[in-house]
Structures are given as structure tokens and as C-alpha cells.
């Protein structure tokens, strides 16, 4: 077994629960741990069941070749990237991963033919090799919010800015269920600085690129870049009900009770000038600037005070410039509204990292997030590889158990994955399959009758 040097210069080797040496294990990613993770913890059967969408059963309507048309891609050590992998059964899937030990596993679409054989079909020139099913996916990355968070930037995340992800989950999840009627939705921590969303209803998997783009545009509000001073423009006398609901149920609350304070949005001149830039009335802005240039001692938090002043000024009716009426909302939207990566959602052939992978930079597992309790999710408490192995080892040597993860913090995540997502999904797939099969039978029966 190769020995990896950890950053601290300490070495550690774990073999089947026996620890050699008593040194503290580093949190960072470690190939050995990854190998053991794949050996003992990665939930192959659950993942494969999910991807099969019921086609691994015995029902006559099951398509046993379905799973073989799903693309997986592996990123190996040294950034070697292998695309168009496919597997006909869970054993092949498991063996391939254990053997190759990919640093990252991506999931692609289900194609019309086995992706591993795509070159055979490319010649026929009839576009035979094409995606036919793919989950509706979303990718939200906190570094896209760098212009509105002051505690961290880039790849860093902390508990002060993580609420931005909580907001995104709440807004999008509600819309996906209430507006679009989707039911089988999986939210996953991306391992470092964001979240992914997998919408797995049959209807969602069969959406065309155009329909996916339409949904992404429905969610889109933020349209800026570094150069524009105002990146959210809410035109029109009133807002669409979706935006109204998002604002009143989520955005306003989080802005006023969390972000305003944790990000100190008004506390320095630089910061409040950024807000003033978003107000299209110069007399209103000078009025406010005047108030804020003189720092007044107050028992209350300065951000809260200034926000109140801003709201009062803009909503007082004293200033009448056009574009002023929505300004307060625009500011709140700018600081809180979800910023999706549109490209990820638009195309069926876009790859996305699989849940339960381990992030190579943090060592954290990409665990599911419960949208109903996403306020409680703590990215800094997500199990890391090293943590998991400590937990495994503490269990001592036992009879080989199928469910090793039950001994670790991963157990919770996997239970949640099964009970909240996988089981209802598979039940629904089975029902769908049966009813469409019966419908076809009926049809063929009635067409035969004269």
C-alpha cells in the first residue's frame, strides 16, 4: 500500500481497523483513506438503485439495458479524466470504482445507446448518439456571491455566509415543488462551497434543453457582472407571485435578521457606498450619506439603524425618481436571491458530481441536505474522510458488516437518503412503470377489437 505523506509530515496507515501508531489523523484528503472509503463506505447499491429508476426489477416493462446507457465519468489521480464509462450492473460499478479509485465521479445523462460504444454509432450520421433522459440539475456556488459577502471570498465558507446557501435551497425547493409540481428532489452538499440539486421525477428527466433553459430563466433575477453597479433590476409595477413569495417568506427575513448583521453591510463607507450606488435618486443618496457620515453612538447595531433609515427614506414618498419604488427590494434581492449557474441546468449532457463523493480539497463527503431542515445544516460539521475512519476504528474489530456506515456519522446521511429520497422515488417509478404498461396493454387490446 502506498504511503502518502500528510502535510504535517506525519505518516499514517490504516489497515482494516488496526491502527499503527497513535498520531492524530490529518483532515485533508488522502488517497489511502479514499481507497478505504471506496472499500467500506461508498453506497454502491443505493446509488445504482437510484440510477436504475426501477428498471432493475422483474416487471415486464423494465428495460434491463437502461442503466448501461447512463454515462459516468471518473477523474483519476493526476487529473486524468475518463469519460463515457458505463456499467450493466452494480458489481461492475463497484469493481470499477474500487479498482480505479477516482478522485471524483460525475454522472451524465442516459443516452440513446451505451456511451461506451458511441463511436460505433457516430459514423451513421443520424445523430443516433444523443441524450434521452437526464435529471434536472442545479449548481449553486457561494463564490458567485463574492460581491455581497465580506466574511469570506473564493473557496472559503463559514457559518456567517452559509445562510446564502440556505436561502437558495429554500427558494428553489419551494418553487420546484409548489410551482413546477416536482416531488423527487435531492439536495447535496458539494463538499466545499456550494450545493447541488437533483430533480429526479420522470417528467424532469425527460425535459428538453429548451424547457430546462426556461426553468433556469424563470429562476433568474441576477444579471450583473463586476462592471454594473446595479445587478438586479425589478421592473414592472408589481412582482411576479414567485418573487413575492420568495421575498416575503425567505429573503427579507434572512437579510434583516442574519446577513445585515453578520456581513456588516453598512458598517464602513466603502460598504454603504456600494448600497448607495444602487439608488437612482441623488438627493435621496445625499440625504442618507449625510446621516451616515457622522457616526452616532447608538445602542443598536449600526447596520440595523442604517437599514431602517434607508427604508424610511426611500419609502417615505419624499423622493420621486423612477425606479425608486422597488429599490428596497432590489437591494435585498441583490444580497440574497439565489444565483444559479445557468449553464449547468440548460443542457442535458452536462455532467455533475455524484453524491457521496469526497471532495479532494477538503476531504468532506458530499452528503445530502434535508431541505426541510436546511437551516440546521452546518458545512463545517460534515464528516471528513479522516473523521469517518476514526469512527470506524473506534468500533473495534467486528464481524464483517454490510452496513459499516452505521457505525459512522455517514450512517445518518445514508438513512436520510434512503427514507426521504430513494424509497419514495422507487415507489413512484414502479407505479409509473406499471400504469403506463397497463395503459399500453389496454390500447393494444382495444385496437384489436373490431
Amino acid at each position: 500500500m502506498a504511503i502518502e505523506e500528510s502535510e504535517n509530515g506525519r505518516e499514517d496507515v490504516l489497515i482494516d481497523g488496526q491502527k499503527h501508531g497513535n498520531v492524530a489523523v490529518p483532515d485533508e484528503f488522502n488517497v489511502n483513506y479514499l481507497k478505504l472509503y471506496y472499500a467500506k463506505l461508498f453506497p454502491y447499491a443505493d446509488m445504482f438503485k437510484w440510477m436504475s429508476y426501477g428498471n432493475d426489477g422483474k416487471h415486464p416493462a423494465c428495460d434491463k439495458y437502461y442503466i448501461g446507457r447512463r454515462e459516468f465519468s471518473f477523474t483519476l489521480e493526476n487529473d486524468i479524466y475518463v469519460r463515457y464509462q458505463s456499467f450493466n450492473n452494480v458489481v461492475q460499478f463497484e469493481n470499477s470504482i474500487k479498482e480505479k479509485c477516482p478522485f471524483k465521479i460525475d454522472i451524465g445523462p442516459v443516452y440513446s445507446v451505451d456511451p461506451a460504444k458511441k463511436n460505433a454509432y457516430a459514423q451513421s450520421g443520424d445523430n443516433v448518439f444523443t441524450p434521452v433522459e437526464r435529471e434536472l440539475i442545479f449548481d449553486i456556488d457561494i463564490s458567485d456571491y463574492d460581491d455581497v459577502r465580506y466574511c469570506c471570498s473564493g473557496a472559503d465558507v463559514c457559518l456567517e455566509c452559509w445562510p446564502l446557501m440556505t436561502i437558495a435551497i429554500k427558494v428553489i425547493d419551494t418553487a420546484l415543488r409548489d410551482d413546477f409540481g416536482f416531488k423527487h428532489i435531492l439536495w447535496v452538499y458539494s463538499g466545499r462551497r456550494g450545493v447541488h440539486c437533483w430533480v429526479c421525477d420522470g417528467k424532469a428527466r425527460r425535459l428538453t434543453n429548451e424547457q430546462r433553459a426556461a426553468i433556469a430563466d424563470y429562476f433568474r433575477v441576477y444579471k450583473g457582472n463586476e462592471n454594473s453597479s446595479k445587478k438586479v433590476s425589478l421592473t414592472g409595477p408589481v412582482l411576479h407571485p414567485f418573487l413575492v413569495r420568495s421575498y416575503s417568506e425567505v429573503l427579507e427575513h434572512f437579510f434583516e435578521t442574519r446577513l445585515l448583521l453578520s456581513q456588516n453591510i453598512f458598517s464602513t463607507e466603502d460598504r454603504y457606498e456600494k448600497i448607495l450606488e444602487m439608488i437612482p435618486d441623488t438627493s435621496a443618496t445625499s440625504d442618507l450619506r449625510g446621516k451616515w457620515q457622522t457616526k452616532r453612538g447608538s445602542k443598536e447595531d449600526i447596520n440595523v439603524v442604517r437599514w431602517e433609515q434607508l427604508k424610511n427614506t426611500l419609502q417615505s414618498g419624499k423622493y420621486k425618481a423612477t425606479g425608486l419604488r422597488r429599490c428596497v427590494e432590489e437591494i435585498v434581492f441583490s444580497f440574497t436571491y439565489p444565483r444559479l449557474d445557468m449553464e449547468v441546468s440548460r443542457h442535458m449532457n452536462h455532467l455533475l458530481k455524484a453524491p457521496f463523493c469526497v471532495h479532494p480539497k477538503t476531504g468532506r463527503v458530499c452528503v445530502p441536505i434535508d431541505p426541510d431542515h436546511c437551516d440546521e445544516f452546518d458545512p463545517t460539521a460534515v464528516p471528513t474522510l479522516s473523521q469517518l475512519f476514526e469512527e470506524l476504528n473506534m468500533g473495534g474489530t467486528r464481524a464483517y458488516d454490510d452496513n459499516e456506515w452505521d457505525r459512522t456519522s455517514l450512517g445518518e446521511s445514508i438513512s436520510f437518503f434512503r427514507s426521504s429520497f430513494l424509497q419514495p422515488l422507487l415507489k413512484s417509478c414502479k407505479e409509473e412503470m406499471e400504469s403506463s404498461y397497463n395503459a399500453k396493454l389496454q390500447q393494444s387490446k382495444s385496437s384489436l377489437s373490431w
Partner: protein, 463 residues
Amino acid sequence: MEIVKPKLKKPPTSANDAASTLPLYCSAPSLEVRLEDFELYAIDRLRVLKGISDGLSRGKQPEEMEKLVDDLWKEHMGYPLRSEVTNKDIISHFVLRLVYCRTEELRKWFLSNEIVLFRYRFLILSHEAQRLLMAELDLPYKPVTTAEFEGVKEKLHLVARSIGPPKLTEFDTIFYKVPFEEVPELVAGRRVFIYKGYAYVAMKQVVSLVATQFRGLLSKALVLTNRKWTSTIREQEKDRLTPIVEALCTSYLGPDYSQPKEFAEVSIKDIDQVAKSSFPLCMRHLFEKLREDHHLKHGGRMQLGLFLKGVGLKLDDALAFWKAEFSQKVGAERFDKEYAYSIRHNYGREGKRTDYTPYSCQKIISSNPGVGDHHGCPYRHFSEENLKAALSKMGVNSGALENVMDKVRNRHYQLACTLTFESIHGSSNDAGINHPNQYFSDSHEIFKSKNNPSGQGEALGDR
């Protein structure tokens, strides 16, 4: 998409509905048509389409267009027997497809006006008929029940206000429920309320969607028709349908003024007065240039000469008129030798004796005057300055002048002329100017009625 197999669904059997059924023109009818009807039906439908095209260029509002389409349809496509209406509808559409499939420009014109026609006819259908039509187009729209509507009314209202102009006069109360996947553009723009996977589409939006479907079908069909035309039909029909088809799209549809009306006769002594009061700008310009230069080149002679014939100038008067001018430049002898013949030719007294018809606006606008020419349409060819000067001289006030210039900039030359007419005569000209002789006779009508009826009007000549 091929011209599809014949639709098996029949329209509802009730007699009332048959008349209001809007065909989708999916397949060519297997009806027998008399050759005369082939042309006549097409011409009638063309009147409707041209009326629509005019109405749009004049900037008519949707309510006005609705009425216009209804009137045009009743006037030109009406029939005592309902089944005849549908036959004529379908036949005329397919004939015009042949006519207008042949170039990109023709296809565009036909497509856009047929869509407008379709939209307004769709709007006046009964709800039942609309639903049937949507089903035919494979649009899975379900009307929202009253009970359901009450539940979502406020949200629908909110959406309408979030997208519409602030002064929305009516709030659509008719909505259709459709799976959101069917209306991606509306979803993307947040222009609909969505609930549990269904989009609530307002009537106005439905019409657009239905029209878009129809447009897709017709656009593809036109391309296919063009292929068929060039590959087989044109040659096959060269002795029968082809000449009719080729003539149809350039046909001018109004009266041709080849037979001057008796009461509008003009004699030479009236001509200067009449030119000032009742000539359209194109003819006035030619006339003035003739008086100035005592000469006009060929194009101008034709345009003005035929116009004068249409206005009622008799051959002898015409000869005298032109001679009086030309002889000042080229001498009487040369006039007799070189120019008199062609004037007589215009009146059908020479050569093959064709009685030439005065040029319509369409023809005049499309001509291209060169150096030294004064014919053509001044709204098209004059510089802005010159045009403004000329119009002011005619008596167009400055307010109207701006409107006229606006039409000119948008290349609506006939509308510009119509506005000029309206400004000078102080009354509206709803039909719009399509022919210089029409301008003249309309103007003449007005002056006649303005002066006392005993007939001491300006423009009456000798009898």
C-alpha cells in the same frame, strides 16, 4: 413537416358552428373548382389580405383591426350558403399559396397577413370552437373552471400587472391550464402563474400561441408548395393556371380608370385650376414641370398622359394640350411628327389599339426615374427638404406635415399621400389612396359637394 394527411376530425355538426369554423388549411381540398372561380375567389381573399395589410400600416389599434377584419371578411368572402363560405375560404387560401409561395418576400407578406386574419377570426370563435381548434393543433389546453379561477384570481391578476402595460384596460378573465412544458417562453419570462406543474395562460397569450402554431404549419407548407410549384405545377399548368397565378400577385385591385366617368370630364381651360386643387403630388409635379420646361421625358409623358386620360381629358383636348406645351420647345411640326402618335397610341387609336390604363400607385412607386425624369412617386424619390417644400405649397399644415414625413420615413408612401389628401381637403379618406385617379375623383367629389349643388363647381368642364 409534410402537408399532413387529411384531418379526420370533422367540425361540429351544428349549422351555426360550421360557418364559424376556422380551417387550418392542412391539406389541399379535393373539391372541383371552376377556372373562373379559381381566380375570383383568390382575388376576393386578396382584397381581405390587402385590407389587413393597409390597416396595419395605418397603425390601427387591435379593436379597430378586429372590426376591420370582420367587415372585410363579410364583404368579400360572404356567401348565402354556409358550406360555400368554407369552400371559398379553403380554395382561395390554397390558390393564394400558389401565388405567394414563389419568393421569400411574397411568402413573408402572405404569411404575416394570413396570421393576422387567423388571429382575429380565432378571437371571434365560440369557446367550444376555439377548444376544438386547439385540439386539432395538438395544444393540450384546458379551460380554467370558474371555481378554480376564484382560487387563483389574485395571483393571476398579479402576474398580469407584473408584465402588462400599466394601463391595462381589461383583465383577461379567460384562462387556460396547460402543462408548463408546453409554454417555455412564457415560463422563462415569468409571464404566467405556475402551480403544481400547470401554467395558467391568459386568453391573449393563448391566441399568440395558437397563432404561432398556425404560423409554423403555414410557413413550412409554403416552402413545400414552392418546391412543388417549381418542380411540377408551373410547367404542368402553363396553359391554364400558371398565367392566372403569375398575374394575381401584381394585380391592382381597384377600378382601373380606363373608362373615364362622364361627370368627371375635364377640358383644357379647367386644367390649371384642377391641377392645383385636385391633382395628387406626383401629377402636380409633372404638370408643373411640363409648364416650366415645355417638355417631359417618356416616363413622365406616359404617367401624366394616362392620368389625364383617366381624369376625362378627351383625345383632341389632350393633343392640343401637349402640343401647346411641346411646340414651345421643339416646335409644332416636330410635335406632330414625333409625339402626337404616341398620345393617340395611349388612347388606343393606333397600333394594336389597346386602351392603356392609367398607372396605379403601386406601379408608379415601383418605377425608377433617372436624371431629367420627373415621374415616379415623389414621396419616395424627393429629398425631405424638397418634399416638405412641395407639400407646404400644396397647403399641408405643419402638424400634418410631420405625420406625412413620418410615414415617408417608414416607406408608407401611399399613406403619406392619403394624409396629404386629408390635410388639404380637411376630411378623412378611409379607403386610402391607391391610384392617382382615385385621388382626383375623391377630391373632385369633395369640391362638388362643398359648392352649391346647382353645379357651379370648379372642376366641371364643357359637355
